[in-house]
Amino acid sequence: MATQQIFSPLPGIFYRKPAPDKPDYKSDGDTIAENDTIGLIEVMKSFNEVKAGAAGKILRFLAENEEAVMAGQPIAEIDV
């Protein structure tokens, strides 16, 4: 087992859920597949999905819902 980080591919606002009234895409402890969506980044009013990029288990999210993030900022820690 190794710990990896998932980085934000873009600068913008990070969302953990697809819509305000929907549940989070993923929670701490969830198992993830490489192609799973773990959140959205809003860039200039357009929404872009963030993929896990590797299979494993989410240890914890490092960015909060609706947090402003920079490109390359770690947003979650995963165990692969």
Partner: protein
């Protein structure tokens, strides 16, 4: 009543525009800013600036309490909301006045009336302004809606009464589609806006978007003629012009008079725009909605009439009566505005925040550039992608298009992709040059002209049909 210090509750190019107008009136300016806008041009230009929160608009530019507190802390006596954000929020307009400050715009009551599509449509009908055939008011049942579409015929649009910006609109081309879409639309409107009220209207295909600029002082109203904004992508205007190239003088007269009649009927105060659909085959126009604020494309009207719309709205808010009579408003020449957005037209209009590493702004006669840019500025990812607007003015439309093409060739924004190549291709398109377009024209054109949007053609090969 005269305004001494104006707080600008907005950002970007419109904040810069308002600061300039205020300064020319001898009014001090306070610019609010989110953490992400600390280095903005508006902050640099304003007399004072005050931080109002984190980058997210919901926690800064939309935070009414913080903005009011900023006005009080800086001793501002008026607030200009610009466009977007809180500009058409009746509750905010009322809160500003309740705090003893001047809201640069109409009354909360006007905003509320025109913000409700059904109420606005009823007000229009009462003032004798034609509206699109459809429901006279909100429809609460599918049966009532179906009875109606049997009289209007298909295709029809189903819209949420509380929606906006193209959201919650569905198009039904047959009775079967209508029965399928109506319940969906009702459920979605309830979920999205907390209001399941819908209305249904006939879809006028191939229509142009024409809008009338008005100015009112709460008693009298004048119009400043029309703009045509038919070139749209995803219901966002990309190219706007004044006057409209498609109206006859008689239709123009009727259209502008109808706008004044409606604005007078609601005792409108400030700058406002009445939007219409125009069918150039039947010469019929239909009122769509009224925007109770200054609009992005206001400069084309300023260029052809010589009226400083932002300055006039500030004077009116300060209690002055209208200074211009209707017969003093004349159109001279033709003006075009194109929106320079941080989007890459070659990559499906992908947004491109980034740092401006180089900037050359076009100059010369009849060229105006309203923007938020300076060399070294980093465009934040948190807001709208519009960087600025290139506006040209010349004696007629053909000359204005040639001037636009020349000015675009001079415009150089380095460090990020912009929509400049789109506008260059449009300026050279024979259909655009002949004004053969409507609101659904641009999107298919983008599909067939994708190759021409990759890079700007070199200026040395510029050829615009004479």
């Amino acid at each position: 009543m005269t305004i001494q210090k104006l707080l600008i509750a907005n950002r970007g190019e419109i904040a810069v525009r308002i600061i300039r107008a205020a300064r020319e009136l001898g009014i001090a300016t306070v610019q609010v800013y989110s953490k992400a806008d600390k280095d903005s041009l508006a902050v640099r230009l304003a007399d004072e600036s005050i931080e109002i929160g984190p980058p997210q608009a919901s926690k800064s530019y939309l935070n009414q309490a913080t903005i009011l507190a900023a006005a009080q802390a800086t001793g501002a006596d008026a607030i200009h909301p610009g466009y977007g954000f809180l500009a058409e929020n009746a509750e905010f307009a009322a809160a500003v006045e309740a705090a003893g400050l001047i809201f640069v715009g109409p009354t909360a009551q006007s905003i509320r009336l025109m913000g409700d599509k059904v109420a606005a449509r009823e007000a229009a009908a009462a003032a004798g302004v034609p509206t699109v055939p459809g429901s006279a008011g909100r429809l609460e049942s599918a049966a009532a809606a179906f009875a109606l579409v049997e009289t209007t015929g298909f295709p029809v649009m189903i819209k949420a009464a509380a929606g906006g910006g193209g959201r919650g609109i569905r198009i039904a081309r047959s009775a079967e589609e209508f029965h399928h879409l109506m319940p969906q639309a009702q459920a979605e409107a309830l979920a999205a806006f907390g209001d399941g009220g819908l209305y249904v209207e006939k879809l006028i295909e191939g229509a142009r978007h024409i809008e009338v600029q008005i100015l009112g002082d709460g008693r009298d109203v004048i119009h400043c003629f029309e703009r045509e904004c038919s070139l749209q992508r995803r219901r966002q205007k990309v190219w706007e012009e004044a006057p409209s190239p498609s109206l006859t003088p008689a239709v123009r007269d009727r259209l502008c008079s109808s706008a004044v009649a409606l604005a007078k009927a609601v005792d409108y105060r400030g700058a406002g725009t009445l939007e219409y659909l125009y069918d150039d085959r039947s010469h019929e126009f239909y009122f769509l909605e009224m925007n109770t604020r200054i609009q992005v494309e206001h400069p084309v009207t300023e260029m052809v009439t010589g009226i400083d719309l932002v300055g006039e709205m500030i004077r009116i808010a300060g209690g002055e009566p209208l200074r211009i009579s209707q017969d003093q408003v004349r159109v001279r020449g033709h003006s075009i505005e194109v929106r320079i957005n941080a989007e890459d037209p070659a990559k499906g209009f992908l947004p491109c925040p980034g740092t401006i590493s180089g900037l050359s702004v076009p100059e010369g006669d009849g060229v105006r550039f309203d923007s938020m840019l300076y060399q070294g500025y980093t465009v934040p990812p948190f807001y709208d992608s519009m960087l600025g607007k290139l506006i040209v003015h010349d004696k007629d439309r053909a000359s204005a298009i040639r001037r636009l093409d020349r000015a675009l060739a001079e415009l150089r924004v380095e460090g990020l992709a912009t929509t400049k190549p789109l506008h260059q291709a449009l300026a050279r398109d024979p259909d655009v040059q002949a004004a053969r377009f409507h609101t659904a024209w641009l999107e298919p054109w983008l599909e067939t002209h994708a190759a021409s949007l990759t890079t700007a053609a070199p200026s040395s090969t510029t050829r615009v049909a004479q």
